[in-house]
Amino acid sequence: MEKVKVMVVDDSKVSCMILEDIISRTNFEICAFAANTTEAIEKYREMRPTVVTMDMNLPDHDGIECSRRIHAMDPDAKIVMISAMRDASLMAKGQEAGISAFLQKPINENELIDTLMLLCQNKVGTIVVLRESYAKPFSRAFQQGLFSLSGVHSEAELTQEEGRYLEVNGIAVILGITGKPRGRAILYMDASTMQKFSRVVLGRKSDAEVSKKEIGEAVEEAANIIVGHGVSTINDIFQDREMRVTPPGTLYGENIRIANPKLISFKISAATRLGTIYMNIGFAGGE
């Protein structure tokens, strides 16, 4: 897939290196670095980046002045201001100069990527936005949640779900997601993994000590915690999403298939010493 072009305007070599390190691991690529306003304008005209990151302190003019000039050339320019200060008067001046978003130093990697994604939504495409901005927070919450509940480390792998069904032999906890976008998350695992997982979560010595009811409750609680954290992370970044989680609906049994019509969904697999635990997170696209 074609990468999305970013221009970095910053006179500090260290800042440039940090940004390059973060951006190089994504679907974005840096097409130009500029160390001052003159260079920024010259390179903007030449490279036509999709998005610009702007430092506040530049040797010739400040970042707001530089943004104003870029914006005058291209009213559609998307500019993210990155500065140590983030106060109301700076933001008001910045918005008037055409700056779309403000981030504070030191840069939080997730926040930067989420902001770039949001600004370039049309360019990047719905699937990438859903994966990077929505599915990834769940993947992180999944690993952290598994660790805090059961003390197990896991390698989580996030892929787009290609299959038509999730095949469940064991347990699947479904949590609906309301807000923007709507969707649902499913935490599922096989019968032997659910037995071991709930024994560890409940701190019992043998599998025989865990009743079926307790197994359900342990897995439901894990799902509540993981999905709740994922949703909170998204709500913190995007103030207008109003995402909420429904109470769990739980399926038990063999040969259950859960279909995915019309959802763009992602599968997160976490290999642990208790067995592989899966989460599927799906969103209604285009909302």
């Binding site: 038509r164 069904y165 469940v168 699947a172 479904i174 949590l175 609906g176 997601i177 309301t178 807000g179 709507r182 969707g183 649902r184 499913i186 359900g216 909420r244 989680v245 429904t246 109470p247 769990p248 609906g249 739980t250 399926l251 038990y252 049994g253 063999e254 040969n255 259950i256 298939r257 859960i258 279909a259 019509p261 019309k262 959802l263 799906g282 969103f283 209604a284």
Partner: protein
């Protein structure tokens, strides 16, 4: 489980289904059950948040699901419960639940609904919440569908 919350769901059936070319559905039975729903073959779960929280499940045999999908597709024969038929059942569940949500809002309850999750499998067990839930049996052109309602007012 508040019985007053049931009518919006039944009204949704009576409003939405005739628009999709079904005969007017009838309520044939209603009772309270404890804890576990047994899947009849095709079960669609939709979640609620905000003032009304919980889940509802539309539970039916695969035959009923094929009948509903076929009626929605202008009577086109549906021999196997394939992807198009699954999509039709998800969509009608979404329409019914969205209509019920509008009815609940009209009663002054702010609600939001999730996307439907469609599961297939006979004899699977489904837990919709911690309390008892209400079962409403509907007759749609001679086919039975169960609405399992496990929502409560916060």
């Amino acid at each position: 489980m508040d019985v007053k919350l049931v009518n919006p769901f039944i009204d949704a059936f009576i409003t939405v289904l005739p628009q999709m070319g079904f005969q007017e559905p009838k309520r044939t039975n209603m009772y309270v059950k404890q804890n576990i729903v047994v899947g009849l073959g095709v079960t669609v779960i939709v979640g609620f948040t905000k003032e009304i929280r919980g889940n509802i499940a539309y539970n039916m045999t695969e035959n009923t699901a094929k009948y509903i999908a076929s009626t929605m597709m202008m009577g086109m024969p549906v021999d196997s419960f394939d992807e198009m038929a699954q999509s039709a059942i998800s969509e009608i569940s979404n329409m019914l639940t969205a209509n019920a949500a509008t009815n609940l809002s009209a009663m002054g309850h702010e609600v939001d609904i999730s996307t439907p999750s469609l599961s297939m499998g006979e004899h699977c067990q489904i837990k919709l919440g911690n309390d008892s839930y209400l079962v409403v049996e509907m007759d749609i052109g001679g086919h039975a569908m169960e609405i399992n309602i496990a929502v409560s007012h916060q």
